[in-house]
């Protein structure tokens, strides 16, 4: 009973209607205005979930066309310009309007106050403004696409983006700039919430690891995003006002752009993976019925990744002509950041050891995460060493590597969390069979899509071209077939989760018999989150308390249990 108040009156069972429970946050107003002007962190999380789902399928559609084009070596589906615009659209939308906001703004928004026993985030209005800024940014970028597209790639490298590109760079860059305010506001909000609104007894080292991951992600939000904002302002200023900043013809230094850009964009990779690590820690402990192995080291590892991640940006620029000594230092630091990542993988594995592992769908996604993250991390070490990086620079090896981390790991974790907390968020159960099938299909489809790219890349196939030599076709056919499987696997949750909203069985308050504070309220929670004042009496992940022999704990909560 970790995290639960000993006072039974603070707990409730939705089946006992005469308890006089407040309505759930979903029933607290049905008008459009009650959603668009809400300051409830849970409703804002739903707004974010809708918008990122929209952007996910836009980015996915662009990727589908890219993979379709690459099915054959010739350019027979789209031409070179369209191809450039498609992969730019895919990158920009997926990075800034899906991956960066994905877990923090949906699950983070919904769960952070619940997990620490708070009523809401520290600044609820700011939270709503963040969503509007995010939407404004996304729509500006989409406007650039509708106006004719942008062909710079998601990195907006100068001088191409400032001097040469005739596409709608300014509009798209402005969209990303606006969305940056949204992430900074979210970061400020999360940090202040964790500092000030923890329930009595919720000490720093009793915080669930998901909360720690949100906290460290927020630090990166706050400290890295402004650097990107300034960099984008410089690009806009050079394009719009013709100021000489990065133009080498007028004394500017285009390499400086790369330094500034990657100073944000490398930590941004950790914005995408730290929240995923938080989700996985929650899911694995629950389905292995085990306390997390090495809690404090898991915390230190999150902090270490966030901090060291700020000092590795140069490994994106080994071939930019940087000093070999700088390359040496950046290479070393990139190896160092693998240490806390490895600590996390080993600790998750150790958590599984002697656990009563259940293979429910969230756990399938989480185990998929473990494998894909390890694969992506290890190939990251290849790329951190200068000689191999020079060999595979700008090839599909790099594409495969970062997709293993950003799609394989992060998106798997997103789906793990989505299924794990779906009963809490919606009050409905999803069809478990379909969910397991989708999880397995996603893992298979992902590997079929991206593993061949390692090989193609190692053999020398460059990225960002719409045609390629015919000897690479076998790998590309495999990859494109995998993409079709992956697309089907991504569409399935959209179908069965929507179905469950209307026809799913009512969820218990704690359907997984999980330990966190968020399960100590109704599913879905009321506007005020808790009845009475939650108090925290024990560390997190209190599965198998010391006194009870292992094996006595039921995995699934009993019907109507007062959790």
């Amino acid at each position: 009973m970790s995290g639960a108040s000993s006072d039974a009156s603070t707990l409730a069972n939705p089946r006992e209607l005469d308890l006089g429970l407040p309505v759930s946050y979903l029933g607290d107003g049905y008008s459009v205005a009650s959603w668009l002007f809400t300051t409830d962190h849970k409703r804002i999380a739903i707004l974010y979930a809708l918008s990122i789902t929209f952007f996910f399928f836009i980015g996915g559609a662009a990727a589908t066309l890219v993979r379709l084009e690459l099915f054959t070596p010739q350019g027979d589906v789209v031409g070179a310009d369209t191809y450039n615009k498609l992969f730019s659209l895919h990158g920009i939308v997926m990075v800034w309007f899906f991956l960066i906001p994905s877990i923090p703004t949906t699950m983070g928004n919904f769960l952070l106050p619940l997990m620490i026993g708070a009523r809401d985030l520290a600044f609820p209005k700011l939270n709503l403004i963040s969503w509007y800024l995010n939407m404004a940014g996304g729509l500006l970028t989409l406007a650039a696409v509708l106006a004719g597209g942008i062909d710079t790639g998601w990195t907006f490298y100068v001088p191409y983006s400032t001097v040469f590109s005739n596409t709608f760079v300014t509009l798209a860059v402005l969209g990303v700039f606006v969305s940056g305010f949204s992430t900074i506001a979210t970061g400020v909000n999360f940090i202040a919430t964790v500092h000030f609104l923890r329930a009595p007894g919720m000490t720093w080292f009793r915080l669930p690891l998901f909360v720690w991951s949100m906290y460290t992600t927020s630090l990166i939000f706050v400290l890295a995003t402004p650097v990107l904002a300034l960099t984008l302002v410089l690009v806009i200023a050079e394009r719009t006002f013709n100021l000489p900043i990065f133009d080498p013809a007028r004394g500017g230094d285009p390499i400086l752009f790369q330094h500034l850009f990657w100073f944000y964009s490398h930590p941004a990779v950790y914005i995408m993976i730290l929240p995923a690590m938080g989700v996985i820690s929650e899911v694995i402990t629950c389905y292995a019925r085990r306390r997390i192995f090495g809690y404090s080291f898991m915390v230190y590892a999150l902090v270490a990744i966030a901090v060291i991640g700020f000092f590795t940006w140069g490994h994106h620029m080994f071939t930019s002509g940087m000093s070999p000594f700088a390359a040496l230092v950046f290479s070393f630091l990139s190896f160092i950041v693998a240490v806390p990542s490895a600590i996390k993988v080993f600790n998750w594995t150790a958590t599984l050891y002697r656990g009563q592992i259940g293979f429910e769908s969230p756990m399938l996604y989480a185990l998929g995460f473990l494998g894909l993250f390890t694969m992506g991390g290890l190939t990251g070490l290849f790329l951190a060493s200068v000689p191999i990086d020079v060999h595979v620079q700008d090839t599909y090896f790099v594409v495969a590597h970062f997709h293993y981390i950003m799609v394989g790991a992060s998106v798997s974790a997103y789906f793990a969390g989505l299924h794990f907390w779906w009963p809490k968020v919606t009050g409905r159960m999803y069809p478990e069979g379909w969910a397991r099938f989708a999880a397995l299909l996603m893992f298979f489809g992902f590997n079929l899509t991206f593993f061949p790219q390692f090989i193609a890349g190692y053999l020398g196939m460059p990225r960002r071209y719409y045609t390629y030599p015919p000897e690479f076709q076998v790998w590309n056919v495999l990859s494109s077939s995998g993409a079709a499987v992956l697309a089907a696997a991504y569409l399935m949750p959209l179908g069965y989760l929507t179905w469950s909203l209307f026809y799913g069985a009512r969820a218990l308050n704690d359907p997984w018999n999980a330990s966190g504070l968020e399960w100590r309220t109704t599913s879905p929670p009321p506007r005020q989150n808790f009845f009475g004042n939650p108090q925290v009496l024990a560390p997190p992940y209190d599965y198998h308390p010391e006194a009870t022999p292992p094996g006595d704990e039921s995995r699934i909560a009993e019907e109507g249990a007062l959790t």
Binding site: P124, F196, V227, A237, I245, R250
Partner: protein, 229 residues
């Protein structure tokens, strides 16, 4: 600070916003807790802003290291009289801002608070006027990067690109600050007692102080280079 309930018995909890109104703490403690949260929030935001301007200063550093001589030539073309006057105006506004912040927490200091806030806004506006005069002179002297730029040395355009960009970004920040302070004055004018012990005053003034401080760094970068010795 826990005396808030006694002094303002009209609507004592009106400064408590969600979710701070549901902490189930004694009112005085909830109030000071909310205040600490608001101040903490703006400090975190200022940390973010430091990185924003930090990137700008890094840009300047890199460009100046690469083109030291041209930057000295270009920096001598800025108007040091306007620049120094503006520094004095903004620093004085910072004094009034700090006083307003302190005064808003004292009983019976309503007039002092309002007066200091007004002085802060007026000095901020004076800064903008001087900046406008300086911009006009710069345009007349062809110091806008482009085809008919006045200086010959190649990287001087780089310096003035930075000059226009950094002063414009600073002016945008200052305009936001002016807007925040005007809003506070307006609210107090409409509902007397609004400012008393209201964390919004300290939050706005911390932001104002930050914008001041950015100018203190920009001033030597833009006006003092090439003028020493």
């Amino acid at each position: 600070m826990s005396t808030g309930g006694d002094v303002l018995d009209k609507t004592p909890e009106r400064h408590l916003r969600e979710p701070w109104d549901e902490l189930r703490l004694p009112e005085g403690r909830a109030f000071s807790y909310q205040r600490a949260g608001a101040t903490f929030g703006i400090w975190v935001f200022i940390a973010s802003e430091v990185l924003f301007f930090g990137a700008l200063f890094l840009l300047y550093t890199a460009m100046r290291l690469e083109h030291a001589a041209d930057f000295a030539v270009a920096a001598r073309e800025t108007n040091i009289v306007y620049g120094t006057l503006n520094t004095a105006l903004l620093l004085t506004s910072g004094l009034f801002a700090a006083t307003a912040s302190q005064a808003s927490e004292q009983e019976g200091c309503r007039r002092l608070t309002l007066g200091c806030l007004t002085a802060t806004v007026l000095l901020g506006l004076a800064f903008m006027v001087v900046k406008g005069l300086e911009y006009r002179e710069d345009i007349e002297r062809h110091l806008v990067p482009g085809a008919d730029f006045a200086l010959k040395a190649p990287a001087t355009q780089l310096f003035f690109g930075f000059y226009w960009l950094s002063t414009a970004i600073h002016a945008i920040h200052l305009s936001i600050g002016i807007g925040l302070v005007v809003r506070l004055i307006w609210k107090e004018w409409r509902a007397p007692g609004f400012l008393f012990e209201n964390p919004q005053v300290e939050v706005a003034m911390l932001y104002w102080g930050f914008v001041d401080m950015i100018w203190i760094v920009l001033y030597p970068m833009l006006y003092l280079g090439g003028r020493g010795g």
